[in-house]
């Protein structure tokens, strides 16, 4: 486990509430993530953890409360929101690579269209990133020709190409075959060690122990616990967390 980072807040959620109709899916969420911090969000399905993750780049809107990134309040819509999103990398459970574009074009699209980089510059950087996540040999294929693990690593490279301030991972390994989970986790651990600020929704307890500075446990739309991994896994304070851990760790 790495040292606790700078203490300078990067992402701040205060008093965030969200409803899906009558369903109160996020209830009074207060959460601050420091620059360089790796926060793992765990909890049973339906606990609101994915929704929480998606509110941070406003793929989900919120009912009340405030979210700021690097001191800037999330804009409601339009170009301002697009610009803010370009600073927040997102990795999805189902990869969501652009199906009609090659792997290389997937990674260069954002830098060319949003950052206005030249094609040559964007491709050079994209090849470096693909090399770093270990899929440079697949650069000219389309996503459907890749394995799930390879696709997810391309998705990470696509997000990194925007030089994001923070990376959101929404259950990045949940759609993968078991033998492909590690290749994705290795890339994520590498990122964490380099000091990337990361918010990771996952069921991978091994990753949480290895790379997280903090574990946030959610249930029923609330944050029930927020602790360092060692404390959380060995001595959780809430009964709900004890119950959850006993179910997932005893196999």
């Amino acid at each position: 486990m790495t040292e606790r980072p700078t203490g300078e807040p990067l992402v701040r959620l205060s008093g965030v509430n969200k409803w899906f109709g009558d369903l109160h899916v996020l209830q009074d969420i207060d959460l601050t993530i420091d620059r360089g911090e790796v926060v793992v969000v765990i909890g049973p399905s339906g606990s609101g953890k994915s929704t929480l993750c998606r509110t941070i780049n406003r793929l989900e809107s919120i009912g009340s409360g405030e979210i700021t990134i690097d001191g800037v309040r999330l804009p409601e819509e339009g170009k301002e929101l697009a610009r803010l999103r370009s600073d927040v990398g997102m990795v999805f459970q189902s990869f969501n690579l652009f199906a009609h574009k090659t792997v290389l074009d997937n990674v260069t699209l954002g830098p060319i269209k949003v950052r206005k980089q030249s094609k040559a510059d964007a491709e050079k950087r994209a090849r470096e990133l693909l090399d770093r996540v270990g899929v440079s040999a697949q650069a000219d294929k389309v996503p459907a020709q890749l394995s799930g693990g390879q696709q997810q690593r391309v998705a990470i490279a696509r997000a990194l190409a925007m030089d994001p301030k923070v990376m959101l991972f929404d259950e990045p390994t949940s759609a993968l075959d078991p033998e492909m989970i590690n290749e994705v986790l290795e890339v994520m651990v590498g990122l964490a060690q380099e000091g990337m600020t990361m918010i990771v929704v996952t069921h991978e307890m091994g990753f949480a122990r290895r790379a997280a500075n903090r574990v946030v446990f959610m249930d029923g739309g609330r944050i029930l616990e927020s602790a360092d991994p060692e404390t959380f896994f060995t001595d959780p304070s809430s009964d709900r967390a004890k119950d959850f851990l006993s179910k997932i760790l005893n196999h």
Binding site: L59, A82, M90, F92, N96, H100, L109, G110, K113, V114
Partner: protein, 215 residues
């Protein structure tokens, strides 16, 4: 055979008129229909309303009435267009409504994750539509757009009633002059339409195979 040779210039001109009407109206319908489809899925409410209004108006009005409106109605508000231009406009504007609905169904068939991922890297709504959603939508709408196109080619025949010398008008003219050879006249006109529609059908099925994507 002598009948075809004698009337070749007239049939050729009529064929070329139907073909150019189809191409011009088709282009208009494709461009306008795609813009309307983009409006229809846009986050801006007035644009969605405008597009819905357009589609429901043209889709639910008989094409002949649209012809009447453009060719005889527009001059009433000092906006006169010729018979040929008016016919192209009528067919193009009418067909745009159907193109819009076909393209919209294609947009809805694209996995929402594709649009989410493009928004997540900071593309604006317009960029996401152009770069990610529409290119994938068009692949699924090639067959329905093919249907719309073929129906549209045949719909240009209404222009015969509005003084445009296209294939159906030549049918009327030639059958008056060659009452004894009515079947030959019909054959000639049907061949004219089929030259366009069958070639299109072949082109469409080739395009369908070429743009088929791996998912």
């Amino acid at each position: 055979m002598q009948f075809f040779i004698d009337n070749f210039p007239l049939l050729r001109d009529a064929f070329l008129t139907t073909l150019s009407m189809s191409l011009l109206a088709g282009l208009l319908a494709l461009v306008l229909g795609t813009v309307l489809a983009a409006f229809r899925v846009s986050p801006i409410t007035p644009l969605r309303g405008l597009s819905t209004f357009y589609v429901e108006t043209f889709r639910n009005t008989p094409l002949t009435v649209v012809f009447f409106f453009i060719i005889f109605g527009l001059p009433q508000i000092d906006f006169a267009v010729g018979f040929f231009t008016g016919s192209v406009l009528a067919v193009g504007l009418y067909t745009a409504a159907f193109v819009c609905e076909a393209v919209r169904s294609g947009i809805n068939a694209v996995n929402p994750g594709q649009a989410e991922a493009s928004r997540a890297i900071g593309l604006t709504f317009g960029q996401s539509l152009r770069e990610v959603v529409l290119p994938q939508a068009f692949r699924t709408v090639v067959p329905p757009l093919g249907n719309v196109w073929i129906a549209m080619v045949k719909n240009t025949s209404i222009a015969a009633g509005f003084a445009v010398s296209e294939l159906t008008a030549s049918l009327q003219r030639l059958s008056n002059a060659n009452a004894g050879e009515l079947l030959l006249v019909l054959l000639a006109v049907v061949i004219g339409y089929m030259l366009i529609t069958l070639t299109s059908a072949y082109g469409i099925s080739r395009m369908e195979r070429r743009v088929a994507i791996l998912r």
